[in-house]
Symmetry: D3
Subunit: 137 residues, 6 copies
Amino acid sequence: MIYVTRRECFNAAHKLERADWSAAKNQEVFGPCANPNWHGHNYVLFATVKGKPDPETGFVIDLKKLSTIIRTEITNKVDHKNFNLDVPFMKGILPSAENIVKAFWDILVPHISKMGCTLHSLKLQETENNSVEYFGE
Amino acid sequence: MIYVTRRECFNAAHKLERADWSAAKNQEVFGPCANPNWHGHNYVLFATVKGKPDPETGFVIDLKKLSTIIRTEITNKVDHKNFNLDVPFMKGILPSAENIVKAFWDILVPHISKMGCTLHSLKLQETENNSVEYFGE
Amino acid sequence: MIYVTRRECFNAAHKLERADWSAAKNQEVFGPCANPNWHGHNYVLFATVKGKPDPETGFVIDLKKLSTIIRTEITNKVDHKNFNLDVPFMKGILPSAENIVKAFWDILVPHISKMGCTLHSLKLQETENNSVEYFGE
Amino acid sequence: MIYVTRRECFNAAHKLERADWSAAKNQEVFGPCANPNWHGHNYVLFATVKGKPDPETGFVIDLKKLSTIIRTEITNKVDHKNFNLDVPFMKGILPSAENIVKAFWDILVPHISKMGCTLHSLKLQETENNSVEYFGE
Amino acid sequence: MIYVTRRECFNAAHKLERADWSAAKNQEVFGPCANPNWHGHNYVLFATVKGKPDPETGFVIDLKKLSTIIRTEITNKVDHKNFNLDVPFMKGILPSAENIVKAFWDILVPHISKMGCTLHSLKLQETENNSVEYFGE
Amino acid sequence: MIYVTRRECFNAAHKLERADWSAAKNQEVFGPCANPNWHGHNYVLFATVKGKPDPETGFVIDLKKLSTIIRTEITNKVDHKNFNLDVPFMKGILPSAENIVKAFWDILVPHISKMGCTLHSLKLQETENNSVEYFGE
């Protein structure tokens, strides 16, 4: 079993704000992340796929195809977008890095499976100091 | 003459959109950067100050003080903010990296001068692929 | 279960030298790391906490609070310090990266637990080429 | 149990091309990686060894010795070389990152074992976007 | 005057070998870089353009267009290629980083000029330890 | 004229403390950098040499030779050392990054000149946030 990782980048805006909370409570819990007029990040996504290398190609998965899947299904839909307003699959979900990475997972799993591989983990880096990782359970 | 550089980071939202242009023209010229609902970046700012080291301290400038100036005058005012809506000194200015770095320059120069030093350059990195640098003229 | 990682940096001096060994033996085993007059590093610490995101906040752990814990309990006590001389919790312990990371672990675990989370791993990078990671067992 | 990681770098040429396939099929499957006249990479190898720190030295493994093993057994044999033509242990093996990392694994395991340690994983980064990791099974 | 920098990456093979020198002399002067079967790098190119920001767009140069020029004129022609064998504009030129960056300069200057801007410098990073920069004279 | 840059790394201890000042004044001016028991850094040195590429080799300077000079004259003398106690050429000089880089400059210039090249600049990075650069005047 080999683990293959592809990195993809995108830039997006978001804020952490619950409509059912007062501005004061949002500010208290989320601090500057609750700024009503948004802020944003250069997100970096690492997708790790595991499998046995194909004896003919030496590939667990063709990284160009993995890149195409991630771009088509994820980054083209979130790059230069607002997670709270522009992204259908995040509708009604608070766009914390934790919630974003789980939404990405649910989207990618069937596409990776269709290629005969297993998605092992998704890591989403929000800043050089903060990141989250999800293994599907 | 020694050149001393301090790095400071902040996260902000912005969009490139002229109110006097149609949506179509904004889209044509600025592409995804014109997304009406904003996007954002992890900006990295490098401030370079030049001067002669003080014979007593060996410092061109106390980097803790330089950091405090940049944080007080710049990053505290733009971190987790929206360049188009939240930043008084960017009012009426299209927040391209070029225009942001010039606005930062004008703010920092007098504070650096007051410390007996000269601001040599400001470099603003918007993504790992894109950056701008300004030398004051 | 989501894994959340916070990065914190600090600078410190140390040496690898056993008082019960001769200078020659220290030099033979530890090489330049045994330099009697110390050397130092820009250490980088990655703390990974695991848990389920809170349904209200979308957070496994508030990263500002995790940062505060790490700074209060660890980095404020070791930054710009000497691991052999200045750090009470390293007293009598040879400050190899392995021993440092275990000492950090024992300090952090109760503070992370108090927040209802589980410390998953601590990674300590000593140089860009050398790092250690501990999972608590 | 502590996990200790050493990073080593090397530069090499390779191509992905099967002699039993037509040029057209190689191009179709491997794309630009099949360029007949080769291309190359700055490879980065991360070797992770696990074990208990020695109570006397505080070391899981002496990183200078781990570095020497990796350089002697691996990087000196592949640095500034061509994986398809110059590397005896890759003879007849398509030099995908997956196949390279497995070949490295088989070479390193006995040398790490001889030192009383266990090789936990090998990660090979081919570009900043692409990497593979192997845990031996 | 603002200086705008775009980063673009590519992977290529090369060797440093003069046909008019013996193998021994090539080896003596170029060391492992003369390996007859090539080696390769992940090259990183930084192109810096200077100019005044357009008052309407806030841009010195549209970075998407600068990226397109660099990709069309340079990186598409050298990525996954062999500098000695595959690149017409390097024919008869020893592909040291110095000579590569000068060849890139001559290609890019007219394209940047056509956009009303001035190419200020090209920096080519061959490894994390080695880079060259050219300012056109 | 091409500018060629070589990166070299070393780890060292230092403190900023004047013997002719009280402990209180040292603390007031230098803050945590005055810690009596030292602290340390992973220093990164970038040496930039300028010249015309040799028509035969395509090299401004053989980077292996430049590396050897820097290691022999500088990094071997400061790596795993204490700038205040162990380094003869820093005797009596407060080891601020500014003073270190000037001392390095004076040592390197004649060695670079002997090779027919000109040292253009030395950049010394003390942390990822702080660096200094010197151009010799």
